[in-house]
């Protein structure tokens, strides 16, 4: 079996250019790997027939960019024309969109090949991908463990080298946290960098699509391809074109980095805190100034997140009423029956829980007590970050408080999932860019991730730091991948 998909993007590109390989070779290899690792349950829907067709069409085309012909996996909450998009929900189990999300158009314009739609938490609500109607994906580093979520399937696809690239979405850490659990690079760009048109909304003011890749360079390349103002999304921002790889070879000497004390407090596992301290020392050796600082309001962000995200979600998911598309209870007696049964049967427990809590939080006086107040404190978080970025280039810390834990653990504790995301959520609250890069392993050989937070629109600077760390650490990041699939421990 070929191993082209283990090569770097530039190497693949060279081989495509001199016709040593064709896009079809890559596509077939990708499907082989998916087939051999079926038990990982990374994908909900494969796009095999169309992907092969696309690859064949590309054979005659000019290799016009580095991402040409590269297989990519798309999270299943991003709509793809003629390709089933389920949001991992029974509600949309048979939903075949009639249009492409703006990012999907951009992916196609760069001639990447969509391999399939990846598993996730239902409507992106969760941080373990266990709320998926299609059962949870497994962590390639240890099949008993969660892949994280909600972009768990995308993380698994990249981590297990099924596809070099994947798109995820991040509302409260849903790109960065599974990236951390599976040892890959995941970027949540600045809010507004990437069009949300065609992303099935969870919490509109927080949702952002971003790249999930094997390494920092690939990540920046994929971000290059998907950013830009979109007339269909009023919250997308108009920024001059930039190459996010442009600072990668530059020295990081003189950079100023802050580590909030909260990020290395007792809420985080000791070995992870130690890893962050190790990274800090490495950076200091590189001539970087690292300071431990106090950043107020970080501890409030989970509560705010629950109020804002669930409030918005309760409204965003109202459209799934069984009338125009999606699951529709067919034996209804009247309108109320149609609403009730379609939603009762179409949505899973976590989604229903969030809709109920969100509706409650926006009801009557509660809107003032909770939602309006949350928006005010959200401003305070923004100000708190702004103060920090006035003195520092970036903020770092751990991405997660623990490494990936066992599937099925704490399933009956709905709060746990939120607390898992305590380190990543503040970034969504402020709309800042945040990324995960792998920086080592735990004693039980599970990946540990570093969280890098940049100031608005300073993704290029983050890639500069990330790529330097990647270069110093030289981690071996391929899980126990073997031909014939990943074997259980």
């Amino acid at each position: 079996m070929s191993k082209y998909l283990d090569l770097s993007i530039t190497e693949i590109n060279e081989k495509l250019k001199n016709k040593e390989i064709s896009p079809l070779d890559l596509v077939m290899e990708s499907f082989d790997r998916i087939e051999q690792n079926k038990e990982l349950n990374a994908f909900i829907t494969l796009n095999k027939e169309q992907a092969i067709k696309d690859a064949k069409e590309l054979e005659m085309a000019e290799v016009d960019n580095l991402l040409f012909g590269i297989p990519i996996a798309i999270k299943d909450n991003i709509v793809t024309k003629d390709l089933r998009t389920t949001c991992a929900s029974k509600m949309l189990a048979n939903f075949v969109p009639i249009y492409n999300a703006s990012v999907v158009e951009k992916i196609k314009n760069k001639h990447m090949i969509i391999i399939g739609k990846t598993n996730m938490d239902e409507f992106a609500m969760g941080s373990t991908s266990q709320t998926s109607y299609f059962k949870a994906p497994h962590n390639p580093w240890n099949l008993k463990r969660i892949a994280g979520g909600s972009s768990g399937g995308s993380a698994v696809a990249v981590s297990s080298r099924m596809t070099p690239l994947a798109l995820g979405s991040d509302t409260g850490g849903s790109i960065r946290q599974p990236a951390s659990y599976t040892g890959i690079v995941g970027m949540k760009p600045t809010y507004g960098r990437v069009s949300r048109y065609g992303l099935i909304a969870f919490a509109s003011s927080l949702d952002q699509i971003g790249p999930m890749t094997r390494n920092v360079y690939d990540n920046a390349l994929l971000l290059n391809a998907i950013v830009g103002k979109d007339e269909h999304d009023l919250t997308s921002v108009d920024k001059e074109d930039e190459d996010f790889t442009r600072f990668m070879k530059q020295d990081i000497k003189g950079m100023k980095i802050a580590i909030p004390n909260y990020f290395v407090s007792e809420i985080v596992d000791k070995e992870i805190v130690e890893k962050v301290h190790d990274v800090a020392s490495l950076l200091e050796k590189e001539g970087v100034q690292v300071d431990y600082v106090d950043l107020p309001y970080l501890d409030k962000s989970v509560t705010l997140y629950q109020i804002i995200a669930m409030g918005e979600a309760s409204s965003n998911l109202a459209r799934f009423d069984g009338i125009r598309y999606g699951y529709s209870y067919d034996k209804c007696q009247n309108l109320d029956d149609l609403y009730l049964k379609s939603r009762q049967e179409g949505f899973g427990d976590e989604v229903k829980r969030r809709i109920m809590v969100g509706s409650y939080l926006l009801s009557g006086e509660n809107a003032k007590t909770y939602y309006d107040k949350a928006l005010m404190i959200r401003d305070d978080i923004c100000k708190s970050f702004a103060k920090c970025f006035a003195k520092y280039d970036m903020i770092i810390g751990p991405t997660t408080t623990t490494v990936a834990y066992n599937l099925g653990e704490d399933m009956d504790n709905p709060l746990k999932a939120f607390l898992d995301d305590v380190l990543v959520i503040p970034v969504n609250m402020a709309g800042l860019p945040g990324m995960n890069i792998p920086v080592g392993f735990s004693r039980d050989h599970m990946p540990i991730g570093l969280h890098i937070i940049g100031n608005y629109f300073e993704e290029a600077k983050m890639y500069q730091l990330a790529s330097r760390l990647e270069e110093i650490l030289k981690l071996s990041l391929q899980p126990n991948y073997r031909e014939g699939g990943i074997k259980d421990e």
């Binding site: 991003i78 099935i200 918005e312 109202a318 009338i323």
Partner: protein, 473 residues
């Protein structure tokens, strides 16, 4: 006469005259085939996002200015959440917290009887789809879903059905003249909900809401009927419930739709998909500068040009004619003659043929030609009737038409003098009356001249000659 005082507040929904919908690029058109003017957004297709129709924002701003409102320069949209099949997203995008206009007023009545009806606010929102119910099925037409609306909410300032009707007529006229809506109640592009309460004291009574009344006249009837119904209840010692009723055209009464649930909970929150909108000073100024001439300004302009009150009233009821006459405001012409002409023979022609003025050949230049011919006595008011249809339907000038019709006016002074002398001789009583200062006599004598000449005498010339001849007697 009842000693209860009525209190009325009105909410008007008005569809804006835009090419496309409020938040999507689908056409905003009435009467098209069902579900033909829709985009993915209008069906609330997953993943779609709203965009803002700035043309609609401009029209709403224009309406707010026409209603003398203060403008919210920084505004955002809110979501109003509720489930209904005609509401595809499960929420309506509206402006609950930052309406585009607040604290305005509409002035009704005239002079000493005038009264200001305060406008609480005017806000932008989107229309719902249309449900059509049949015995075992309901059908949805999404053409109307997302059509831009403004909702205009008054304070409870009206105290009678007459005031309510005056307010609605004035409001309709203002919105029509500001060119923001076609305000057709029969097509639903203007819809009113009326809140009515009665009380013997200063403290307002419990109000009921009457929905979707199809004409201004019916608003008046509905208010009176509802007030009577409430009074009868109160007289029987029954407490009035807060409820929503609808007006039934056939029986002319209000019928209960639903009792208001306590604290109807729409779970409002700011629409996160649309960033805050800042209306710049320039945008507001430009909108003000480009405001079409509003009714009050037109009245003033017409009064200045000596158009009669009755003609002014008629002109304002006919916006195309009023717009037409405005083309001449800078011209030195006799507006009395023009307004008479437009409201008389020309209106009669337009009504008979179901045409608009724009369907005729009465360009401004040709109208001026007609007016000049009249002024110079080339044609008379009688002749006009003979040539008007051809003048409106063809491009032939006055001279050609007069020739074609074989119309010759008696401009021959000698012939006229002869006729006049004859008439003076035969009407000594009138001549005497004239000399005694009775103006009516001259009218009678002119009438005789016209009768004698079968209307072919140039009235101006004839009048002048008659006066001269009378002085000689």
């Amino acid at each position: 006469m009842s000693d209860y005082k009525k209190t009325v507040g009105i909410e008007v929904h008005c569809e804006l005259k835009t090419n496309t919908k409020m938040f999507s690029s689908a056409a905003n058109a009435y009467g098209d085939e069902a579900n033909s003017n829709i985009t993915l957004l209008d069906l609330a297709y997953p993943g779609t996002l709203p965009t803002v129709n700035y043309g609609a924002v401009m029209l709403a701003l224009r309406a707010a200015l026409a209603l003398n409102c203060e403008i919210n320069e920084d505004m955002f949209f809110d979501r109003k959440n509720y489930f209904y099949p005609d509401l595809p997203k499960g929420y309506q995008i509206t402006q609950a917290r930052t309406p585009i206009g607040i604290n305005g007023y509409v002035e009704i009545g005239e002079d000493e009887n005038s009264k200001k009806i305060r406008i609480h606010d005017i806000h932008i929102e989107e229309d719902t789809a249309k449900s059509v119910h049949q015995t075992d099925h309901s059908y949805l037409d999404f053409n109307r879903a997302g059509v831009p609306l403004i909702e205009i909410v008054t304070e409870p300032d009206m105290t009678s059905s007459d005031e309510a009707m005056l307010y609605l007529e004035k409001l309709r006229q203002l919105l029509l003249y500001a060119d923001v809506s076609d305000c057709k109640m029969e097509e639903g592009s203007m819809r009113c909900d009326v809140n009515v309460s009665i009380s013997k004291t200063e403290q307002l009574g419990t109000r009921t809401e009457i929905k979707n009344i199809s004409s201004i006249r019916n608003v008046g009837i509905a208010i009176d009927k509802e007030a009577t119904r409430q009074e009868e209840l109160l007289n029987q010692g029954i407490v009035i419930q807060e409820e929503t009723r609808r007006f039934d055209d056939v029986s002319g009464t209000t019928i209960l739709m639903r009792v208001k649930e306590i604290g109807n909970d729409y779970r409002y929150f700011p629409e996160p998909d649309i960033p805050k909108l800042h209306l710049s000073k320039e945008f507001i100024r430009d909108t003000k500068d480009n405001m079409p001439m509003l009714p009050d300004d037109r009245i003033e302009a017409y009064k200045k040009r000596n158009i009669s009150d009755i003609n002014i009233k008629k002109l304002l009821q006919n916006k195309p004619l009023s717009d037409y006459i405005n083309l001449f405001l800078d011209e030195d012409i006799d507006f009395v003659v023009l307004s008479n002409l437009l409201l008389g023979d020309i209106s009669a022609y337009l009504n008979r043929t179901m045409k608009d003025l724009t369907d005729t050949n009465l360009s401004k230049t040709r109208c001026l030609e007609l007016l000049t011919s009249l002024k110079e006595g080339k044609i008379t008011n009688k002749n006009i009737k003979d040539i008007l249809i051809d003048y409106l339907e063809t491009t032939k000038d006055v001279d050609t038409l007069l020739k074609e019709k074989g119309i010759e006016n008696i401009n021959d002074t000698e012939l006229l003098i002869k006729i006049i002398k004859n008439i003076i001789e035969n009407n000594p009583e009138s001549v005497e009356a004239y000399h005694n200062g009775h103006d009516r006599a001259i009218k009678y004598l002119m009438g005789q001249i016209m009768k004698e000449t079968k209307g072919a005498a140039n009235p101006a010339v004839a009048n002048k000659l008659l006066q001269e001849e009378l002085k000689k007697v």
